[in-house]
């Protein structure tokens, strides 16, 4: 049998990864604003429902228009990811098909029925349905989109923390054994809560930024001030909640994906009483020499903070990259195997799968049972059987390290921004400080960068695994020609960039028209 790995062009793997990253990054440009604006426009329409003032109706309609533009542009951009699964990641797609089927089917049904029904009532139903029903439709549109996101994040979380499934060597598939374990795993809950809240921050930054543009232009001042109040209150609340949920996410990462945490922290050699790096001069263009360096250079750190973040104990043990490669003992006394041992276990599982398939062809049920038994013992480490060098299991540290700091730093900036906006709204005159208006405007693109950084931390940090510990990228990928993946990469680049340009253009036109633009 030809060794397919040798035949595979490794740059094809990188093109397939780049294409997936490109598609996900563009898709994620549309999603946060949809989810974030849904909350803000829902609150505005609630104000209209409670007060009956036309001012609030116009305000809610304006933000719904911007929501509609973004919603329309984002439709079906995520479906391309599923195309890529079937073509570029066919082995992965086959292996996860039974686990992914349920969440993605629910997502599709919810998205289609809930969103399409209530979006129609929201946009077409003014003066046609009762105020209460319209308000419910507006909230349900946002809820439908949020529930959609939940199922996608459940699928993503399962890749990071595969639970509730069993590998069936007959079908060569992971089959779901517990829907609850998959849907309610701690990683899924943390990921959903942190992601959903972060989208409210993006929506709030967008709202406040647009309002500040009106203040700079001295247009629609009362509308801008009223919208800003809601935007800033939502934004400040969401930013603080994002900090809390982020802290819990970091704890969960520490427990379930220690290599990701080590990469986020550029922690080469772990231990107890670990300090949290605020900033350090990690070379952004080169994987650090973690085997020989004691720690990242010029490191400024908060004592004990990493131990507390990762273990909720100031003196807790946090493994570094080298500890994970060499094996370590956890605080509770359990021993985490070395990479070498995991590789041996993984190789046993792969050989057992080969033996099972051979035995199946011959109809040798005793040999099948024996192979099945070996697989059951070692399947957890299946993916390690493909690892040749320790460097293969270490994610690219500079991206994880800096993306994490951009995410956290951006979150702190937004807390400050919203606090300042509220201070000027309630204690001073918000129409006067131009520097604040410009800052809020500048924060719109920053919010997107911060949001995408969060995605980078989550996805770069779990490399090389498409399914944590079970399937590395170079096994999940299809044996395709590089050229075909390159062509679709550039097709997507053109398609998405055009769509983004169209969206920005339409959004800017609608913002220039203002809240009375529809009249």
């Amino acid at each position: 049998m030809t060794n397919l790995l040798l035949d595979l062009d490794t740059s094809m793997i990188n093109w397939a990864r780049a294409q997936f990253a490109l598609t996900a990054i563009y898709h994620w440009l549309f999603v946060p604003l949809t989810l974030g604006l849904a909350v803000i426009m829902g609150i505005m329409e609630t104000c209209y429902y409670r007060t009956g003032k036309e001012f609030w109706k116009d305000t809610a309609k304006f933000w719904q228009r911007l929501f509609g533009v973004n919603f329309a542009m984002g439709i079906a951009t995520g479906i391309i990811l599923e195309f890529e699964f079937g073509t570029n990641w066919s082995n992965y797609s086959w292996l996860v098909g039974d686990v992914f089927g349920a969440p993605l089917a629910i997502e599709g049904i919810v998205a289609f029925f809930m969103e399409s029904t209530f979006v129609a009532v929201m946009f077409f139903g003014w003066n046609k349905v009762s105020k209460g029903f319209h308000l419910a439709s507006t909230w349900l549109t946002g809820l439908g989109a949020t529930i959609s996101a939940w199922w996608i994040l459940v699928a993503n979380s399962w890749m990071q923390y595969p639970v509730g499934q069993e590998f069936n060597p007959d079908t060569v598939r992971n089959e779901m054994t517990s829907f609850a374990d998959v849907a309610l795993s701690p990683v899924a809950i943390d990921k959903f809560v942190h992601t959903a809240i972060s989208t409210w921050v993006v929506g709030a930054v967008f709202c406040v930024g647009v309002c500040c543009w009106y203040l700079l232009k001295r247009r629609h001042v009362e509308f801008a001030k009223a919208s800003m109040k809601i935007g800033a209150i939502v934004g400040l609340t969401a930013s603080l909640l994002a900090a809390i949920s982020g802290d819990h996410s970091a704890y969960t990462v520490g427990q379930t994906q220690p290599m990701k945490l080590a990469a986020m922290e550029a922690l080469y050699n772990g231990g107890t009483d670990q300090s949290l790096t605020v900033i350090s001069a990690v070379n952004p263009f080169k994987q650090p020499d973690y085997e020989n360096e004691e720690e990242a250079p010029f490191r400024i750190a908060v004592p004990y903070a990493l131990s507390f973040l990762a273990t909720h104990d100031l003196h807790g043990f946090v493994p570094g990259v080298n500890d994970i490669i060499n094996g370590y003992t956890k605080d509770d006394g359990t021993v985490e195997m070395s990479l070498k041992e995991k590789i041996e276990r993984g190789q046993k599982a792969i050989i057992a799968l080969q033996q099972f398939r051979e035995a199946k062809k011959k109809g040798d049920s005793a040999a099948m049972d024996a192979a099945r038994s070996v697989m059951a013992e070692n399947m957890k480490y299946f993916g390690y059987g493909y690892v040749k060098e320790s460097e293969q299991i270490v994610p690219y540290i500079p991206v994880c390290f800096y993306a994490f700091r951009v995410m956290v730093g951006g979150g702190c900036l937004f807390i400050l921004l919203f606090a300042l906006i509220l201070f000027f709204l309630y204690k001073k005159d918000i129409t006067k400080p131009k520097w604040l208006h410009w800052l809020a405007l500048a924060c719109i693109p920053i919010a997107y960068i911060v949001s995408e950084s969060g995605w980078l931390v989550a996805e770069f940090g779990r490399q090389p695994w498409t399914i944590q510990d079970m399937l590395p990228t170079w096994v999940g990928v299809s044996d395709l020609q590089t050229e075909s993946v390159m062509i679709t990469f550039f097709l997507f680049l053109i398609l998405f960039t055009t769509m983004l340009a169209v969206e920005i253009s339409i959004l800017c036109k609608q913002i220039k028209k203002g809240p009375e633009g529809e009249k």
């Binding site: 049998m1 030809t2 060794n3 397919l4 790995l5 595979l8 228009r65 509609g68 533009v69 329309a72 542009m73 439709i75 079906a76 479906i79 391309i80 195309f83 890529e84 079937g86 073509t87 570029n88 066919s90 082995n91 797609s93 086959w94 292996l95 129609a120 009532v121 946009f123 077409f124 139903g125 046609k128 349905v129 060597p169 007959d170 079908t171 060569v172 598939r173 190789q347 792969i350 799968l353 080969q354 398939r357 059987g385 493909y386 399937l471 170079w474 096994v475 299809s478 044996d479 395709l480 075909s484 062509i487 679709t488 097709l491 398609l495 769509m499 169209v502 339409i506 609608q510 529809e518």
Partner: protein
């Protein structure tokens, strides 16, 4: 009678909604072009199902097991 009234209302909601669209017309044009590109051009010509193109129906598991065990 009440049921008929409900469906008539639904029809008018959509009919009037689409007829009176302003920005919505532009958005629908963009959506339709995008869906055409995604589902007709990209899916049909660039994103075939790799496994079904390389294995017979019912032999997909064998194909995938060969793929993944031979990459060790």
């Amino acid at each position: 009678m009440e049921k008929q009234g409900f469906w008539q209302n639904v029809w008018h909601l959509y009919y009037d909604g689409f007829r009176n669209m302003t920005i919505g017309k532009t958005l629908w044009t963009v959506i339709l072009i995008k869906l055409f590109i995604i589902f007709v051009v990209l899916k049909l010509f660039f994103f075939p199902n790799f496994i079904s193109h390389h294995s017979k129906k019912g032999e997909e598991a064998e194909f995938v097991s060969t793929e993944i065990t031979s990459r060790q």
